[in-house]
């Protein structure tokens, strides 16, 4: 291992994720607005490198595993939109028999929401699009800590 340890490698994989101040607060507010929508069970914001900025998921939910998959999915959606010249990736939804996962893309990272089967897809997608636009704004205008 490294000679000198910092949280980047001293935090063992799977360890609890500590809350951080500053711009992360804006991310938390964005996520809190989204998870208040009808039918949305919870969600998280993860950076492209897989760092969970904030998460609000039901107890016993596999946060780390979901974050890794969400970051991988977000990156694939981003790359595909670019390679296939469909414009920058904004939002996506994937529905299954028992619920729907929404993903929003921004330079800061990916917003992932877990929702019920009968959620209002159009309503959540619109709200997620607005949230993604706000996150793009935070990327362009560096916040102070």
């Amino acid at each position: 291992m490294a000679e000198e340890q910092t949280p980047a490698d001293s935090t063992p994989p799977g360890a609890p994720i500590a809350a951080r101040p500053s711009r992360a607060q804006a991310f938390r507010e964005t996520l809190n607005e989204l998870i208040r929508l009808d039918g949305v069970r919870g969600g998280l914001i993860v950076t492209p490198d897989g760092l969970v900025i904030t998460s609000e998921l039901p107890p016993r939910f596999p946060v780390e595993a979901l974050a890794a998959l969400a970051a991988t999915l977000g990156r694939e959606l981003e790359l595909g939109s670019s390679r296939l010249e469909r414009g920058a990736f904004r939002t996506a939804l994937f529905s299954a028999d028992d619920g729907t996962v929404f993903v929003g893309g921004s330079p800061v990272g990916y917003v992932t929401l877990v929702a019920d089967r009968n959620v209002n897809n159009e309503g959540v997608r619109t709200a997620l699009g607005r949230a993604v636009d706000r996150l793009r704004g935070t990327w362009r205008t560096p916040a102070t800590a």
Binding site: A8, A24, E64, R86, R125
Partner: protein, 260 residues
């Protein structure tokens, strides 16, 4: 406060300002900034830390993370490899390289990194999630003809403005696609990857098998439908509402009369 204490504190303050910070403290602060989303500030500290101490694995790891955030994948890969040169079993560096291999479509190259990361650090839920996801993936069978039979596009009710119609098996084997050969290949590869990763995400969330998908880009929206064996995709204008788009894709699905 006595004069001696006052002088001591003042002197301590002055020397504290000019004393060079250790690489460890620079990396610690950089990691804090990274968690706060202050990537540019973090990058400066990492550069400074690596200048002072170029052989600290965590500095290169943080450097790699920031390259990923800035989508500088070749540089990220080089930094993850520097970490491994210093610490051959660093689980986070192995995981980082696995993810890059995955996004490059190199499934065979991805697996050994995940295996090594988990071998060294068994309690690694992120790596396990990806390992389980890729475990069943196979490369598309080249040149295999479709078991679905001939696709008659004439009887398809293609929505106005529809493009990039694509039909594949879940393993990525192309059945039919619009466009030139290179475009077809890209469409099939991307749609299969999205299907597989989204399926794994839905399964991990306990929601069941993927049935429908909608991907909104800045200029177009793509719709996806699957029964687990076959994946159908089509791209429509961005203005098309989710419900209307899904109805149109459902109609195409019916027209294709898909029987796996």
């Amino acid at each position: 406060m006595g004069l001696a204490t006052f002088l001591e504190r003042t002197w301590s303050g002055i020397t504290g300002l000019v004393r060079p910070r250790s690489a460890a403290s620079l990396f610690r602060l950089a990691d804090q900034y990274r968690h706060e989303g202050r990537y540019e500030d973090a990058a400066e500290l990492i550069t400074e830390g690596l200048r002072v101490s170029p052989n600290i694995a965590v500095g290169h790891l943080l450097d790699a993370y920031l390259h990923v955030v800035f989508r500088e994948m070749p540089a990220a890969k080089a930094s993850f490899r520097r970490v491994l040169a210093l610490d051959p079993y660093h689980p986070r560096a192995l995981f980082g390289l696995a993810r890059i291999a995955l996004e490059e479509g190199d499934i065979e190259g991805c697996r050994p990194f995940l295996d090594r990361a988990i071998q060294y650090f068994p309690d690694f839920p992120e790596a396990k999630a990806l390992q389980e996801m890729v475990a069943t993936w196979t490369a598309p069978a080249a040149g295999v003809s479709s078991s679905i039979g001939a696709i008659s596009t004439e009887r398809l009710r293609l929505p106005p403005g529809a493009r990039d119609l694509v039909l594949t098996h879940a393993d990525g084997t192309l059945v039919f696609a619009q466009g030139g050969e290179e475009r077809q290949k890209q469409l099939a590869l991307h749609m299969t990857q999205v299907y597989r990763i989204a399926s794994a995400t839905l399964a991990r969330a306990g929601l069941g098998a993927l049935r429908r998908g909608v991907v909104e880009g800045a200029s177009e929206t793509s719709f996806l439908r699957s029964d687990g064996g076959i994946i159908l995709g089509v791209t429509l204008a961005r203005e098309v509402e989710v419900g209307a788009g899904l109805v149109q894709v459902g109609r195409l699905w019916t027209d294709l009369n898909i029987k796996v």
